[in-house]
Symmetry: C2
Subunit: 337 residues, 2 copies
């Protein structure tokens, strides 16, 4: 009655061999090098195998060949909407090559991440670390043991895939400048984030080129709440438009503005980053889109290339971003009428 247990006794290669009247080796070869065997032998073995529900044991195979057929993917927070599309794409890419993927959630902690990597090391052929919290040193140490690909983390010598926000941010600034804005504000994310640093720099540069004033307001963590919380600071700058570190922050800002009777985009323009919300906000959010799915796919693909012994050298893939104009940007109030 109990449903527990029932494990272990999966049929083994010996079971197949015995009922087929051949040796273990032959069964093995029937699966791995059918060409080496007689055609009808192979057919018979496969037939028997599937009839008794035999599936080669991944673990045993891995032990003897060293080819685990597994890879690991580690992210800081599965629930952060930026990651699911990335995870999904990486997943499917690995699947195309019949790899199984371990998922690790570092919970924003380098200790946890280090623990996970160690746990994974002995059963994967390679790993992808997203926005890793580890030190360069630890990353290099791990990369010595197994092929490693980084996402949004730039460590020279380690293959990495980076989302280059510069282009999209420049487009956003050009867009705002064209609408007539003269003073904008960048609402920054975590100081330690590579992406944040890059975006802030891009805003500064872009603003200079378009002769816009730029203020910086710090939202400690990237979230809806913190976006909502910094609205007073934003309004205090006198700016007429904001570029937020990410969409969640932008959305919080929109709510905060609405609470104060500031209408978007009539009175104030808002631009997000990451495009994780699609057109789902109201008004729908103008944002810098970055194809996080493509990022995941590229990283996994790069890793698989390394596993295929195709040397990738000091790969540094960057992915472009682009502005998606929706309905939260408009000319500043002063320009009207």
């Amino acid at each position: 009655m109990t449903t527990g247990k029932g494990r272990k006794d999966l049929p083994t290669m010996m079971d197949v061999a015995r009922t087929a009247g051949v040796s273990k080796s032959t069964v093995s070869r029937a699966f791995t090098q059918p060409g080496m065997l007689g055609a009808e032998t192979v057919a018979r073995i496969l037939e028997i195998a599937s009839s008794i529900g035999y599936v080669p044991n991944h673990t045993a195979r891995a032990l003897s060949t060293g080819r685990y057929g597994n890879v690991a993917l580690v992210v800081p927070d599965v629930a952060n909407p930026f990651f699911p599309p990335l995870i999904r794409a990486a997943q499917m890419e690995a699947d195309r090559s019949d790899f199984c993927v371990f998922l690790g959630n570092s919970d924003e902690s380098w200790r946890q991440e280090d623990k996970l990597v160690d746990r994974f090391l002995s059963q994967v052929e390679g790993l992808v670390l997203c926005a890793s919290r580890l030190t360069d040193e630890r990353i290099r140490a791990h990369a010595l043991k197994r092929p490693l690909v980084l996402v949004n983390r730039d460590v020279p010598g380690i293959p990495r895939v980076l989302i280059d926000s510069a282009i999209g941010v420049h487009e956003a600034i050009a867009h705002l400048a064209e609408l007539g804005h003269k003073h904008i504000v960048y609402v920054s994310g975590p100081a330690s984030s590579w992406s944040n640093q890059q975006r802030r720099a891009a805003v500064r540069l872009g603003a200079r080129q378009h002769r816009l004033d730029v203020s910086i307001v710090a939202a400690r963590v990237p979230s809806y709440e913190s976006g909502r919380a910094v609205v007073p600071d934003i309004l205090a700058t006198g700016a007429t438009a904001a570029i937020a570190f990410d969409d969640l922050t932008a959305q919080g800002i929109m709510t905060g503005l609405a609470d104060r009777g500031v209408s978007v985009p009539a009175d104030f323009s808002v631009v997000g980053c990451d495009d994780v919300l699609g057109a789902a906000t109201y008004p729908s959010l103008t944002t810098v889109s970055n194809r996080s799915d493509e990022t995941g796919r590229a990283a996994m693909s790069l890793l698989l290339d390394m596993l295929g012994s195709r040397a990738v050298g000091d790969a540094r893939v960057t992915l472009d971003t682009y502005l998606v104009v929706r309905n939260t940007t408009a000319p500043p109030p002063a320009t009207r009428s």
Copy 2:
């Protein structure tokens, strides 16, 4: 220069044994049954081990013990916002017991799901299948080989964790009735979905109890777009409030209503399901919340219990839902002064 390769040669147990001047077995025991060895022997071995960077090989251990230390988690779509919190919670729960988790994305296809399960079988101790697309028969077959827990899928005899929307939906209806609504509409999701069937039934029952008229409008797939698309149908029913299959659909409906100049909640009330958007919409969405994270935790916990040989019998865990009132519900226009 190339960063590829560098795999394999992780230090082995023999390496440690050799430099420690002991046998393989002793090293093994130093890790698994330290109490059986001399205290200083253990200390020395562990010291040497960490100094040469030795970590026990998960795969080899699994092969000889049959305890893989891995579990698999399969979902139809990682990118569906309902799943990430669930995945995250299941992840962390497994981690507490030092289990690694494989993530599988069935891509809404039973073939893909079946393939993944077979791939996982030989390297996991058990698996959690979320909203499985497999037939009862296949599920039972797999459950024979490895402990299996289902989420939002009700197969008698197989342990399962189900989100019971009934309570939350009833609360929602009571809430709408109290506000003075007389005619509501349920915007349904996929016909094949267990959750959808349950929610629709709950709406029907609740409406009867509160003597409300209820119409059903079908949104084929649960998405922002389809929600937006069915707005004309919704308005055609003459209802003054809608309960949507999920939050994405609800959000699409809100946008569709706004496009037509129908103001929420002044002219029309909207209630979502799943609470995946938090308070991030504007106006913030009243919704039936369901703690998908707790669902993931419970399912993984149940699986681990089974692995611990604690028989769980024909477990059928149901999780309650509850209404979260935010700003998309208000009295119907007619009721107002």
